[in-house]
């Protein structure tokens, strides 16, 4: 009952000041949830096997049998787009997980320890940060898969790692900055006074209070990962041509546009746009939302 009143008041308080960031957050969340559902339920949503050729006549325009039409090999574009969500989200999740797992501890340690260690790590991170992300990802992807003969999953993994390397500095910088301010708190001094060793201070007292600002970055990382993965596939060093992937499909399909066949590249392109938009919106809204300086309805 009490929680019911809380929620009632919560919505009452917020319905009065429905802000822009709140609308952004809602749109983003709806889109992102839809994407995740599509990825999980792909076999049930897609009407055809995405890699089976000549399901329909090549270059069939959108029609009731083939909602998004078919491509040069007669594959169903709609099914390919649906299945493509899987590889896109996989790259996004894996890259974010990697970048998170490396960038955050590094930021925490660097911020807490300070001194020469901090300076060296910050310098390396700044250098990484300054590098154009696609070029960097390109170099790493080529380095990890020189022959271009790896399995599909290892290609996805390589792409994800390449993108995560680019993203580590983003996590690092934010976490290092908040660590610097969090470690000035009295409770950190109190932890030292009760005899907590440094690793415990970082783990129990600083980390839980410093990771919040990294959450918007995860979403930005997601968005960028989808875009970069598509870019890599587009350049031909991502996934193999038969594999259902938005980047692959755009790169194959855009050559057809002069012949009036717009659907083979438009729909996967639209998905890239929507997926990127979803996570960008969430990220932007969260930045506003988690901004501690903004007073939120306190007496």
């Amino acid at each position: 009952m009490e929680s019911l009143i809380f929620f009632k008041n919560f919505f009452k308080a917020f319905s009065k000041v429905r802000s822009l960031e709140e609308k952004m957050l809602r749109i983003g969340l709806v889109l992102a949830t839809a994407l995740i559902l599509i990825a999980v339920l792909a076999p049930y949503i897609a009407p055809y096997n995405p890699i089976e050729m000549y399901i329909g006549a090549p270059y069939t325009p959108p029609c009731p049998q083939h909602l998004f039409g078919t491509d040069s090999m007669g594959r169903d574009v709609f099914s390919r787009v649906i299945y493509g969500t899987r590889s896109a989200l996989m790259v996004a999740v894996i890259s974010a997980a990697f970048a998170f797992a490396i960038g955050i501890p590094l930021g925490l340690i660097s911020g807490y320890v300070g001194g020469v260690f901090d300076r060296v790590v910050t310098l390396i991170m700044d250098a990484l940060y300054a590098f154009p992300s696609l070029v960097m990802a390109l170099a790493i992807a080529v380095a990890l898969n020189p022959g271009g003969s790896a399995s599909v999953f290892s290609i996805i993994l390589n792409t994800a790692i390449a993108i995560s390397v680019v993203y580590i500095p983003s996590y690092f910088r934010v976490i290092r900055a908040t660590t610097l301010s969090v470690k000035e708190n009295l409770y950190v001094e109190a932890a030292k006074a009760i005899g907590a060793p440094p690793f415990k201070i970082v783990l129990k007292y600083i980390a839980p209070n410093a990771v919040n600002p990294a959450i918007p970055i995860i979403c930005m990382n997601f968005a960028d990962a989808i875009l970069t993965a598509a870019g890599l596939s587009f350049l031909g060093i991502g996934l193999p041509p038969f594999y259902p992937d938005w980047g692959v499909d755009v790169s194959k399909g855009w050559k057809d546009i002069p012949n009036g066949v717009w659907w083979t590249s438009f729909f996967p392109g639209l998905m890239i746009f929507l997926a990127t938009l979803a996570f960008m919106l969430i990220s932007d809204a969260l930045v506003e939302y988690l901004n501690p300086r903004k007073e939120r309805l306190r007496p």
Binding site: N185, L186, Y187, E189, A190, A191, K192, A193, I194, G195, A196, P197, K200, K204, Y205, P208, N209
Partner: protein
């Protein structure tokens, strides 16, 4: 009574951040002399109040004696062992169990992401994690929570700091400091950020706990009345030095140093008639910057009785009687 803490000529200088331009121009590195030659002793079971205005170095002194800061010079001897420059890893082995600190701001001294019970349990986990079982630790935590007045302890055990009022948080902070059964506690303005009606509760609680756990306190405060209430002895600090020290009654009722007297007459009393009738020593200026400390007696630029000697020579602590000392040439 044996001496638990003795401090000799303690110094702490903080370097002033230099800008790149300053360094380029070869400007001399400047220091804030927060603590500049402080000496005192605390006997076991005693409460020494360190009184002074902001910037006088009282808080820095408190952090130095529990070694949250590294001294620039001097000597700190705790329980017969010199801890002045002891490494943190060594301090963790025994000192952190015996000496604790309570901060002014109970809102900032608790980790917002830790439940009250966890926060109080953490010292036990750190020092006796392998000796005490989880159940034993929880029992110990609940016991100390009821001792500090967080009752019922089972209720407060699972609360987060933001669910507690300022007074309750300060009780939790006290519990965390006491759970290891320390011998010595630095209380840095533990009541000044609390509501008036809560201050008395916390002051009385500290008194009771002192008796029960046989504690020794270094009580830092800017409030003379609080110092008078809680302390056996009072040391008055001004610009990094102790200017007067002695029996609480003597220092408060017969202040010797001109600064102490001025401080005294500036304190408003909760009594309108007394406020109007008492005579005052008024100081018109504000304390000087601790980067450029005046020569001679540090107080001389503000002292209405300053003489030539005060400008040149720094007065040592001069004995007024057995239990009362002051650093003022007027008493030589």
């Amino acid at each position: 009574m044996s001496v638990i803490l003795s401090v000799e000529n303690l110094k702490k200088y903080f370097p002033v951040e230099q800008t790149f331009l300053d360094r380029l121009l070869g400007k001399r590195k400047e220091y804030v002399k927060a603590v500049d030659g402080v000496s005192f002793e605390i006997k076991r079971g005693e409460t020494l109040a360190l009184v002074g205005e902001s910037g006088c170095g009282k808080t820095t002194t408190g952090r130095l004696v529990v070694r949250l800061l590294k001294p620039t010079g001097g000597k700190i001897v705790f329980d017969g062992i010199d801890i002045t420059f002891t490494k943190e890893s060594e301090l963790r082995k025994w000192f952190r169990r015996k000496a604790q600190i309570i901060f002014q701001d109970p809102y900032a001294s608790l980790n917002p992401k830790m439940k009250i019970g966890e926060a109080i349990e953490d010292p036990l986990l750190i020092h006796f994690g392998d000796k005490l079982s989880k159940k034993e630790r929880k029992e110990e935590v609940l016991k100390i929570m009821s001792k500090v007045g967080l009752v019922p302890p089972e209720y407060f055990y699972d609360r987060y700091p933001h669910e507690l009022s300022g007074g309750q948080r300060q009780r939790a902070v006290i519990a965390r400091a006491l759970v290891l059964r320390p011998e010595f506690i630095v209380a840095d303005e533990p009541t000044s950020s609390l509501d008036v009606s809560i201050r008395a509760q916390i002051l009385k609680l500290l008194q009771t706990l002192k008796e029960e756990f046989k504690l020794t306190f270094l009580f830092i405060t800017h409030d003379l009345a609080t110092a008078y209430y809680i302390a056996d002895r009072i040391a008055v600090m001004y610009l990094g030095r102790i200017v007067e020290v002695g029996d609480a009654k003597k220092v408060i009722l017969n202040p010797a140093h001109i600064y102490t007297r001025a401080l005294f007459s500036a304190v408003p009393l909760p009594d309108p008639k007394l406020n109007r009738s008492r005579s005052k020593i008024k100081i018109r200026s504000e304390p000087p910057n601790p980067i450029n400390i005046p020569s001679g007696c540090r107080f001389h630029p503000r002292c209405p009785y300053a003489e030539e000697r005060c400008r040149r020579q720094n007065p040592p602590l001069i004995k007024i009687d057995e239990k009362h000392f002051t650093a003022c040439w007027l008493y030589s």
